[in-house]
């Protein structure tokens, strides 16, 4: 317990006494983190296979079909 308390105080005091430039850097990290993990990830980059298929079996089936169709001609069959 004592060690956890010391670790907590270490981080707490570190953030509390952080110079202004350090706080600016954290602000940049937080804004970027929000942009990347919230906006970019969920709005622009949904995981195609996870979003469109429920099981790994369906995903495998879909990818095998894609691999075969792409090799046969320039046409892909996609099941949703």
């Amino acid at each position: 317990m004592k060690i956890l308390k010391r670790i907590f105080r270490f981080y707490y005091e570190g953030f509390k006494n952080m110079p202004r430039w350090g706080k600016q850097m954290w602000l940049i990290i937080l804004i970027k983190g929000f942009l990347v993990f919230v906006l970019v990830k969920f709005i622009f980059f949904p995981n195609h296979l996870k979003t469109n298929f429920d099981t790994d079996e369906q995903r495998s089936e879909h990818v095998i079909n894609e691999l075969i169709k792409t090799a046969q001609d320039d046409t892909i069959t996609t099941e949703h």
Binding site: F15, I64, T70
Partner: protein, 523 residues
Amino acid sequence: MTQLLLNIDPVLIDWSRAQFALTAMFHWIFVPITLGILFIIAIMETVYVKTGNPEWKRITKFWMKLFAINFAIGVATGIILEFEFGTNWSNYSWFVGDIFGAPLAIEGIMAFFMETIFIAVMFFGWNKVSKKFHLTATWLTALGANLSALWILVANAWMQYPAGMQFNPDTARNEMVDFWEVLFSPVAVNKFLHTVTSGYTLAALFVIGVSSYFLLRKRETLLAKRSIVIASVFGFISVMALIFTGHGSAVQVAEHQPMKLAAMEGLYEGGQEAELIGFAILNPNKEVDNDEKPYLFKVGFKGVLSFLIDFDTKTYVPGIADLVYGDEQNQILPTEERMRKGKIAMNALIAYKEFKEQGNEEEAKLQYDILMDNYKHFGYSYVKDPRDIVPHVPTVFYSFHIMVIFGTMFVLVFLIFAWLTITNKIENFKFAKLLYIIGLACIPMAFIASEAGWVVAEVGRQPWVVQDLMTVDAGVTNISSGAVQTTFWIFAFIFTGLLIAEVSIMLKFIKDGPAKPENEGGK
């Protein structure tokens, strides 16, 4: 369930490629500084702990601040690549899933622990933990960052040289059968060492460049000279290791990706006593199937390319035409033959799937064996024309030569800076001002060389997304090219903004200089 029949849009492939290249190149602006500057900081802090001289603490803290800015702007830019895998390259992601999954998971865990524990001690720990504990945290941060890079580079190396896996036709995935073969494949080892030493070289040039700025302005001369001593010695050792590992990489490329090597040298017709091109202007009209001369102008060294690959000037090096059309004498299969074998593998996969659905295990096993016998040609089933296996030669050729020419120049830069600062003659040097300007110019040159290296590695292996097993068009997700185009421009906008922010903040802190001796922690 709706059945969609969609045509692969070549524009989609190009935009998906462009988007990934943009993100990766932007990410790579930050990574090499982080990889290298941490070791330079650790060396500086070691000197501080050994000598107890507070000036070394001040120097260490100044470079730590620049590291922090680079880290803050660069952090999480790499994660976008993983999002792109899932959205734009879903077939590829699934196909390589098992191989990529383990290294990337290890990387994520290592990066998390490194960033939350050791970096916190580096920045919050001054005067709170012992000097030796703080120094240990700095060294562990440097080692952690480099080990973190190891895993993503192992994953990349696997794409260049797939090893330690078995394709499972039931899941359409390459499954890892030997973790150590993936980790210690010669391509992975060389790629890791070559990439991290390029980061050390770049970081050393960054330190020399910023220090040159101070010397040019006649400010912080002690900090600048001491920083140059550390950076130039560290940089010289790094660039020598970079050249050595670069040679190792070229040997691996010659063995596993001969087309890339041929493109790097603009070598259309192979043979013994192959020429190493020092510099050349390529003939823009040259194609693999015409008789145009490959170079308009060249400075070449006969036999040196053969020698570098096998320590024998008589070693045969195949050219682009040999790899496309084959060379029976040197046992190089024509691409058409590999396409035929690729189609056999693909047909076996189709038949395997059908027999499995029918419950005919015996026939399925037979088809499985045919698939496995021809699996190393599997990706050739996507190749429509033998000439399609040729990457864009001018991009690969010029990128490679820019990288090599700049890298060779950096050896001299390190030597000159090391000599003049160790002997304390730099300020009285006749051409000091010119030297400082060269030092400053080396910062953008190092970035150009570093990015060029990745262009060689990635453009040079086109059209393969996994060497010989999957082409780019087979790996791409069939989504709207408009969506990819939109996100490309959004990223271009965001990345440009972040880059401007980084450069502006960095310049401001460099202009402000280090904290005054009496105010170390406050600035």
